[in-house]
């Protein structure tokens, strides 16, 4: 009987510890499940989960910092010592940090970068993301490439041949860090490279495809003739613009094969940022000229590896990513065109 009990006990112990590691939950608190980009990103984070020590459990903050606060307060009661937070309000995360500090829990912030002052509040805070200005730099590179690379002698895409790039900018949510920085930096980079740019208009389309279509439809009568390129803060807006441009004859699929052959068929350059799968597809089909891939896949890997190190309590020496100030893990964008 005693032996039987011992066997039973060890079996139970085995069951507990065997699956125990895998049962270790890391809360993945997304700002809004409705966000397509975050859906993709979330999938990638799950796919990158090659560690047997833990698994992610997603929570939806429903774009409300109040809900996010509640979720964080709740998960802090669990025994996870790492949480991944995609903040709703960049400015509103400092109480969460204070809470985490109180409970000695690490937070990996993703997608929205908290202000530096907050990240300095506590040493177990990390941010995995891309430098917003880099996306704009890369977007500018794509544009420079389109116009031939020589600021003093633009190629045939300088439609009016004035050596000035006439552009329409589709801006994201005003005040949004990405929108502001991308808008500002793409122009700045072009300037830095010696290109002259004439901004015909900056339309705020709030990162939305539908809103971008609407804005595009409104501005075409005004700037349709003069614009040489549409620069969008993200792919969704770029796609929204392309849909209108197709309607208005800026793209003509003469052989109706669903693919625009840039050599033979009519097309118009539109650049985006984010590298959504649908955007990549559109590039392959010749509609979208280029995009900057927000390398979510690499970010997902970095998040997983960082989570693993934190769960195991290992130092950052083994981390295969560069960690800046012991807080920032910057993932480079990728140009696709």
């Amino acid at each position: 009987m005693k032996k039987f009990l011992i066997v039973l006990m060890s079996l139970m112990l085995f069951a507990l510890t065997g699956c125990g590691d895998k049962d270790y939950e890391i809360p993945l608190i997304i700002y809004d499940f409705e966000d397509l980009y975050m859906q993709d990103f979330e999938d990638l984070i799950y796919l990158g989960d090659n560690y047997s020590e833990f698994h992610f459990v997603s929570y939806d903050s429903k774009n409300s910092q109040i809900i996010q606060n509640e979720i964080v307060s709740d998960v802090l009661l669990n025994d996870s010592n790492v949480i991944v937070v995609n903040p709703v309000d960049r400015l509103g995360v400092y109480p969460l940090i204070a809470k985490a500090k109180e409970n000695n829990i690490s937070i990996i912030f993703i997608n929205r970068e908290p202000i530096k002052e907050d990240l300095l509040l506590y040493d177990k805070l990390y941010y995995v993301g891309a430098k917003p200005e880099q996306s704009a730099e890369y977007q500018a590179d794509i544009i420079i490439n389109l116009f031939g690379g020589n600021p003093y002698a633009l190629n045939e895409f300088d439609l009016n041949d004035d050596n000035v790039i006439q552009c329409v900018i589709l801006k994201g949510e005003p005040g949004h860090q990405d929108a502001e920085i991308r808008t500002e930096m793409v122009i700045e980079e072009l300037h830095n490279a010696g290109f002259e740019v004439e901004i015909l208009t900056v339309e705020e389309a709030y990162f939305s495809q539908d809103l971008a279509s609407q804005k595009m439809r409104d501005l075409l009568p005004l700037y349709g003739e003069s614009m040489e390129i549409v620069i969008a803060n993200n792919d969704a807006m770029a796609i929204g613009a392309i849909n209108v441009l197709i309607e208005e004859g800026f793209f003509v699929d003469e052989n109706l094969d669903g693919i625009i052959d840039r050599a033979t068929e009519v097309w118009f350059p539109v650049v985006g940022i984010d590298g959504l799968p649908i955007a990549v597809e559109l590039i392959e089909k010749g509609y979208l000229y280029g995009t900057v891939l927000n390398d979510s896949e690499t970010m997902a890997q970095a998040i997983n590896e960082l989570a693993y190190l934190l769960v195991r309590g290992l130092g950052m020496n083994d981390f295969s990513f560069v960690i800046e100030d012991n807080k920032y893990i910057w993932i480079d964008y990728k140009k696709i065109y």
């Binding site: 910092q65 606060n69 509103g92 109480p95 530096k116 005003p174």
Partner: protein, 573 residues
Amino acid sequence: MKPFRNVSIDKKLSLVVILLVFSALLFSSGFIYFRTYKAFESVVEDNSKEINKQIILNYESHFEEIRETGRYIEIETSKLETANQTNLYSLYNSFATLNADIISISLVDDTGHVQATSYSSYVQNSYLTEHEWFIKAIENEGVYFFLISPNKKVFLNTNEEVINASKRIEYYIDGVEQVGVLLIELSTLKIDTISKQSNLGEDGHIIIFNDQDELIYSSDSNCIDSTCLSNVLARDLIIGGKFVEINGTDMYMSINTIHGTRWRIATFINVEIISSSQFTLSMLLFYVFITTIILSIIGTSILTKQITKPLNQLKTHMLEIQNSDHLYREVDIKGQKEVVILAQAYNDMIKEIRRLLDRLVEEQNEKRKTELIALQTQINPHFLYNTLDSIVWLAEQKDNEHVIEMVIALSRFFRISISRGKDVIPIEKELQHAQYYIQIQQIRYSNKFDYTFDIDESILEYEVVKLILQPLIENAIQHGIHEEYKGQIHIKAYQENGFVNFEVSNNGYGLTKQKIEEIYEKIASDNHESVGLKNVVQRLKLYYGPTADIEITSELDKNTTFKIYYPILKGEI
């Protein structure tokens, strides 16, 4: 359980029932109390959180409105070739005028100089770059900072409290991009208005504090700086919700951030209703508890009384019977069925015992009577011998008359003695029997004594146990004849107070009191030494009950009377 053996059944039953009811009630009311309390608490908690959210939404929409205005101003500002007071005053001023919450709108360049403002005249403060709103905004791109500026406005040296909303923006001077800070001064009135609109219950209040836990706003007059209890509690919790007590009032505190600001808002909602309902609930449960306990005590005692009362009656009855001779009483018990059956069985048993005992007594009496009569009827051989001897002597004397008299007397004496086997004979016969005896003895004793009969004729018809006078007369002749003078034997029979009395008196030596006592003792004694007198008394008692007895009175050398008496049986009157 030994100590419980001596406890009566009703106490035991009551104790068990009350204990059971008590523990069941305690458990169930505890459970109900806990569950109801928890459920109620969580409802109140959810409700409080909901109110907090609503308030926050109100604040957020207020700040969003400000940001919206700021955005518009930013865009308009950045569109200008040159942004300066001349170009922007009317725009800024119209916004500041139209929106009651906005006190002023200003653009400050990166060196702290005012580039444009909604004020028509202002004091140029030379240290603007040292202001927190300036530093925060310039350091963080794309973010609005909302900061409280205590006791002064930036441009006018007044004491009115304002909120500074600042953001780093780009603008152009002669087409050259510049970096500056857009500053919107806001009135705190709106904050107050929103909080006043919120229904937080008595003493409920709102506090707003910043990322440094400094109090920015409080709707509670008791909370005027960062050291007040509300702020301390909020600071300790950071964010979330908690039940707290402030100045003796139960409150639910919930803290959340206000989107786009670095402020937190803590709402304190009066939740006294929890403790008051807690009290009501506990009182209700208490009453139910007490009522049920009382009812169960009453119920149990009624129930146990129903069982134990007839049982106790039965017990008392049995004890009475044990301690007395009242065996002939049946117990009449109403109550619990089982006990009634038990009582009936007991009655039947008593009846049976009684019947058996009666029979036994009867049999004993019969046997005794037979024995006694047998003893009595044994012919004293001396008497017969002496009588026959006397007859012979009389015959020798040729005294035929006396011989005849003697023989007739003797034969009649024996006839009555036998009485055809009957125990009871009419008194007349008994008197005749006595007379034959005394007649024989008188002849035998040669007239040494005289005798007289004094008979109440009315009793002759009554019956008497036979052969009771003869031993008395025999006794009187043997002991009552004085040597010196002729003996007198007087026999008297009469009725008095329902008793038949026979008195046999003699004028012999008499008996001392001590002697009389000895005789009484002998008669009463249980030993089987049979004396004639004892036999008489015993038979009288056997036939006529304890009231029949003997009474001896004596005056020395004068007169001695043996009196026996017995009650006249009812049927004879």
